[in-house]
Symmetry: D2
Subunit: 373 residues, 4 copies
C-alpha cells in the first residue's frame, strides 16, 4: 500500500462540516447520537479519512457512507479510536460531497455505546455545505430506527446490523423533498409506554433534550441530556410515527418496576376492547405530546404518520389529535395513515422491510409536498 | 356476413345467469341500475348475443364485456331495443364465462336512463355461475363511479364515457379477493350533503332501497325504489368511500331550494376552520349511516376508506367513527386512509386515474384480506 | 333519447381527416385495411358520429376509439352500413382529437372482410391534424397483429377479439416517439413462408402493394392490390418483426399445394439442425426483403426486431443481415433482439400479452430514439 | 466493549467453507482473486470474525458481506493483516449462512492487490454448505466487473468503490436461478483487444489459468497463473459479455507497444465502417474463444450476452458465432442481446447502473431458465 504523504489533520470544527442530527455541538469529539446523525463535508483532494472514537458494551454502532449523494458503504464499527478511509485516489480538483452517517439508533440499553467524530485527514480543502430546501424532524420507534430494513426475513435476533438510516422511510422522504432531517427514535418505545408496559419508555419524556433517552455518566458528559435548543433548527414539519408499541402494551403482561415494586399495565376488557381509562391516558399522552411539539416548533406542520406495522390504534390516535386540535385551535396538525406491512413488503424480524419503507415514503413525501409547497 | 342459423333465444331467466348489483330480480326485462351491475353467464356454443333495451334523455349508458375474466370490450349504448354480439365463431364445446356489465353509474340526473336485459341468443347451453369466496358492498361518490378512469388529463366534460367500473378500485379489490361485489355510488353526493350543499343528495338517504337515488315513473316501475332485501345478499364487508363532497360543501356557496325557498350551507368560520355546528351535523350523519349499515348488515366488517381525492375530512370522519363505536360498542368498524391522487396518478376531470385506483385497490385489498382471513 | 337536431353530414374528404395506414385514398368510402389503420379528426361541436360500412364472411372486424389521445372504446363491428356515435354532449367550443382505428389485422382468409369509412356527422367544424415528429412502418406477423393482447391466458380460439392495435408494441413505440405509424402484418406468415410451410404466405410478396395479401374482387375494387406509392409517406424507420413463423415451418409437416400438387417444406436434418439449403433460401428471402425495403425507402433506418416469441432464428437472421450489409454497403440496417415471452408476460393463445408488448416496446423505443435523435 | 472470551480460531480449511470463484485451493491463506469470489460458511455461535490479509499499491480491494442470503455490509479494505467481525451477539443455536465476498475485480494494473483469507474466529461450529442447483461462469469486461453500479451519475474517477459484485447482473442472474457462479472480468479488456487497442488485453488469453490476467511474483506465488482445473467445476452455462471494448478500439488511436515499438490499431475506413480485415481478426478471436470455451466445458451452454452498453458489434459477433457453429457443428451456442443503457438506467462513470443490471439480469435469467430446465 502506497501511503499518501500529503494528508493533513483537520479537527472537525475546521472542516466547515454540516452536522446532521441533534447533538451537542460544543463537544469535542462530536457525538453522533441518533440514526441518521451525520457529518457532511464538501472537500477537494484525492483522499479523505475520518478520525473516530467508538465504544459500546453489547450493541456495536454501524455507520454508512454516501458520496455525492449515492450510497457507497455500510459497516460495523468496533471499539477504539481509529480512522476510516472514506475515499482515496480520486481527482484532486473536484469537490466531493461526503456524508458519514450513523446507521444505529441511539441505544438506551447500552450506556457505553457511542460514536464520536474527532476530525478528518485530507489532502484537499473544505468548503461549506449548503442547507437543503426543507427541514424535517421524525419522531418514532423501531420503524423509524429502520429495524428490519436489512437482513433476511427469517432473522429474529435483535442486533444493530438489521437497523438503519440508509433504507429508512424518513431518509427517503427527506431525499424526495430535498430536506435536511433529524431522527429521534427508539425501538420498543411508545408515545405513552413501551411495547411491554414500561411507563417511562416513551419519546415525549426525552423530546426536549438532545438525546434524552440515553443514560450514564459518559452520555451525560457528551451532552446527551442537555436541553435541546429548538431555536437552532426549526423544522418545516415534525412527523410522528408512534403508536405501534402502545398498541402492543395492551396485549402484553404487566411490567413490574424492580425499583419501586409498582406494576404497570394497559388493560383489555374481558370483551377484548381497550379499557377506557387506560385508553384515555394513552390519548392524553398523545395530546400532551402534540402540545409539547407545538410549544417548541411554533411554525411546523405536525403530521402523525401511522400504520406501517398495523392499523390497530388508528381511531384512538385520530381521536386524540381531534381533541388536541379542538382544545388548542391548532390548525397545522394532521393524521396520515401509512400502508401496513404485508408478506410482500416485510423485512427481517417481522418489521417493515425496504419495500414497505419505500411505499410509505412515497405516500408521506407526496403529502408533505402538498403541505409545504 | 354469414349468419348463424342455430341461435336460440333465451329469456334471461332461463340462462342460469348470475346477477351482479342491486336490482329487482322480479322484473322482466332485468334492469342494471348501478355501475358494476352485470349479468354473468357460463355458456357453451360458438356464438352469444345479448338482447338489450336502452334509453336515456341526456346521458347515455356505457357497457363493457369480459370473457373468461379478461376485459374485452367497452362501448357507448344508444337508445332502442337491439342485440349485441358478445362472442362468435368460438369452439362450441368449451364453457365461456361471459360478463356483460354496466360502466355508467346510476343516473340521478337523467330519469330516462336505463339499461335493461331481456335475454340472450345462443347456439350453446347455459350452466350456473358459482359464487365467489367473499361478498363486498361499496358505497361511494364519483370516485366509486370511476369518474376520471377513462379520458385524457385535460378532459373537463362531465360525460359518461369517463366513468367506469372496468378501471375501478372497487372492482380491482374484488378481483384481488375473489369477491362478488355491489356498488352504490353517485358523483357529487356525500354522506351528509352534496359537493354544492344540496342536503338531499347523500347516499344514506337511498341506502335501504334498491336504487333509491333514481326518480321518475319509469324507474319506479323498474323497481328502483323498492326496499332492498338485505337478507338476500349479506356482504362480508361494506366499504364506504364518502366525504370528499362533504368537504367541498364547506367551500361552496349556499344552495337555495327552488321548491321550499330555503337555503342550505356548510359554513367555514372567518378563520377558515369548519363551523363547529355544521361539522357536528356532518359527524352525526356519519354516525347515523354507520348505524344504518350495521342494522342491515349485522355481520359485516364496515370500513370507511377515504382519501383518494384528498385528506381534508380525515379527522372529522375518524372522530365520528370513534363516537359511533363508543356509543354502539360495535367492534367491526374501522377507518382506512387511501393515498391521495397526485400529478402522477390523476386521470381525467381532475379525478383519480387508473393508477390511483390501482394503488388504492392494493392497499384496500391487503387490508380486507387481513380482516377476512 | 333526445336527438341532436344540429348534426350535419360530412363526407370523409371534407373533414380534413388524417388517414393512418396504407390505403387507397382515391376510394370512397375509404377502406381501413390494416390493424392500426385509422381516421383521425380534430373537431369542435358537442357530438360526432362516424358513418361506416362493414362486411365479413367469418371474421368480423373490431374497431377502437381514442379521444384526445386516450383509449376510450373497443368493440366488435357487425355487417351493414350504420353510424356509431364517437362522442356526445361535450363542450361545443373545444377541439376534440378523435381517432377511430381498426383493431383487426387485414384478413387474408376472409375476402369479404372490410371496414369502410363514408363520413362523419357533427355539429362542429373540422380542422386539420398535424403530422407527428416521426414516421414508422412496422412489418410483422401475428405479434404485430396484436394476437394475444386481449383475452384470458386459457383462450385457444383464433378469433378477431384477441387481436389489436390498441395493446400493440408497434403503437406503444410510436406513442413513445411521437410518431405516425403504419402496420403491415399477418398472423402465421413469415419472411419466406408461413408457419405451416405455405411458400406464398410471406410479407415481402405483398410489400409493394397497398394491402397485397388481400384477395377477391371486392378487395381489388377497394384498391388493396394497387401498387403502394412509397413516395407519399417515407418512414424514418422500417421495423421488421418476422421470423417466428419461418422457424415454425421447420417443425411442421410439408404443405401440399392443392392447385399444383407440389409440396413444400423447410427440413430439419436427422440431428435436429436446419437443413443448410433450406436455411439458405430463408436467408436469401431475408436479404431480398431488406433490398426491397431499401429500394422503396431510401433514407430509412431498417431495424429487424425479433424475439418476442422465442429466439430460435437469431443467428440465421443476423447472418442474413450481415450478408446483405456486406453486399449492399447499406449502413442503416440493424438487428434488435426483443425479450421472449414468459409465463409472466404471456397473453391469450400462447402469444405475447400486453406486458410482453410493453416490455418490448420500451426497448425498441429506446433504440429508435438513439437512432433518430 | 465487552470481549467474547469464547472465540476459537479456525484456519479456513477447518471450516467446511465453500469457496466461490476460481482460486488455488492449495494456498494458505486462500486468495480471492475475482469479484464475486467468496468464502461461504454455515456456522452456529454468537459471533464470527474473519482473519484477512490485504495489500495493494494503488487500488484497494472492497469486500461485502451477506447473511442468510441478505446483503448486510460493504466496505473498503485497508492493507494489513487483521480480522473483521462478520456478526456478533446472535442466537448461538441457529445456523447462520455467511458469505464474505470480494467486490473488486481482479486488478491487472496493481500487482500488489490481494485479498487473502486466513481463517475465522467463532464460538460456534461449522457445517458444510450445499451446492446450488446450477453452476454458471461469466466472462466479461467492466460491465461484469460491476463498474458503475455504485456511485453518483456524475462520478468520473476510475476507483474500486464504484465496482461491485453486489449489484451485478451476473450475481442477480445466479440468485434468480439458484446457481453458484464464477466471474472472470476485467474493465477495458475485450475478446480481441482492449478499448485502446492493446492487443494483449483480452480475456481469452487468460481463460485457461486461474487468474491469468494478474502479474508479478506475488500473484504467481498465490497460484494465479496456474492452469485452471476445469474438471473441478463444470458450469451448466458459460455467459460471455464481451465486445464493448473491441468496438471502442476502432474509434481510438493506435496503441504503441513501449517494449517492441510496434503499434496496433483496429481501423475504420474513410466511410466510417470497420476495416474488413480488422473486423475479420476480431471475428476470428470470437471464433477461437468459443472453441476454447467448448474445449474446456464440453457440456455447457455458451451464451454470448451483449448489448448492455450499446449494440455496435451485434452483427459482427453474431456472424462470428454463426461461423463457429457452422465449422464446429456446436449446437449449444447462442446469442442474447441485452438492453442498452439509457439515461434512466445509467450509473456512475457512464456505465450501466443498478437498474440496467436488474433489467438485463431478468432477461438473461429468463433465457437461461428456458435453456436449463
Amino acid at each position: 500500500m502506497t501511503e499518501n504523504k500529503n494528508l493533513t489533520y483537520f479537527p472537525w470544527q475546521e472542516t466547515k462540516c454540516k452536522i446532521h442530527g441533534r447533538t451537542d455541538e460544543t463537544q469535542n469529539p462530536l457525538p453522533l447520537f441518533w440514526n441518521g446523525s451525520a457529518v457532511e463535508v464538501n472537500v477537494t483532494g484525492t483522499e479523505l479519512w475520518i478520525d473516530l472514537e467508538v465504544d459500546f458494551s453489547v450493541h456495536e454502532p454501524w455507520a454508512g457512507l454516501s458520496l455525492n449523494g449515492a450510497f457507497i458503504s455500510r459497516q460495523m464499527l468496533m471499539a477504539g479510536r481509529y480512522k476510516l478511509c472514506l475515499f482515496r485516489n480520486m481527482n484532486t480538483d473536484t469537490i466531493k460531497n461526503v456524508r458519514f452517517f450513523r446507521e444505529l439508533q441511539a441505544m438506551s440499553e447500552d450506556n457505553a455505546n457511542h460514536l464520536l467524530v474527532h476530525g478528518f485527514y485530507s489532502d484537499g480543502s473544505f468548503s461549506s455545505v449548503p442547507d437543503r430546501t426543507y427541514k424535517l424532524e421524525f419522531v418514532g420507534d423501531s420503524i423509524t430506527s429502520g429495524e428490519g430494513t436489512y437482513g433476511a426475513k427469517k432473522e429474529e435476533d435483535w442486533v444493530p446490523m438489521f437497523m438503519s438510516s440508509s433504507r429508512n422511510y424518513a431518509v427517503m422522504v427527506s431525499e424526495a423533498l430535498d430536506a435536511d432531517y433529524r431522527l429521534l427514535s427508539q425501538g420498543g418505545w411508545g408515545v405513552f409506554c413501551s411495547w411491554d408496559n414500561k411507563p417511562y419508555e416513551n419519546l415525549p419524556s426525552c423530546y426536549e433534550k438532545i438525546c434524552g433517552l440515553l443514560k450514564g455518566e459518559t452520555n451525560e458528559k457528551l451532552g446527551a441530556l442537555k436541553p435541546y435548543d429548538f431555536s437552532s433548527w426549526q423544522p418545516d414539519a415534525v412527523i410522528i410515527n408512534l403508536g405501534t408499541n402502545d398498541a402492543s402494551a395492551f396485549h402484553q403482561p404487566a411490567w413490574h418496576d424492580p425499583v419501586t415494586g409498582e406494576s404497570f399495565k394497559q388493560h383489555l376488557l374481558p370483551n377484548g376492547s381497550y379499557d377506557p381509562s387506560d385508553l384515555d391516558r394513552l390519548k392524553l399522552a398523545i395530546i400532551h405530546f402534540l402540545a409539547l411539539i407545538r410549544r417548541n416548533n411554533s411554525g411546523a406542520f405536525i403530521v402523525w404518520a401511522y400504520g406501517m406495522a398495523d392499523y390497530e390504534l388508528t381511531l384512538p390516535i385520530t381521536e386524540a389529535i381531534s381533541e388536541y386540535c379542538r382544545q388548542s385551535k391548532d390548525k397545522k396538525v394532521s393524521f396520515l395513515q401509512l400502508p401496513a406491512t404485508t408478506d410482500e413488503t416485510v423485512g427481517s424480524r417481522c418489521h417493515p422491510g425496504p419495500k414497505a419503507h419505500e411505499r410509505s415514503a412515497k405516500i408521506l413525501a407526496e403529502y408533505l409536498k402538498s403541505l409545504l409547497s
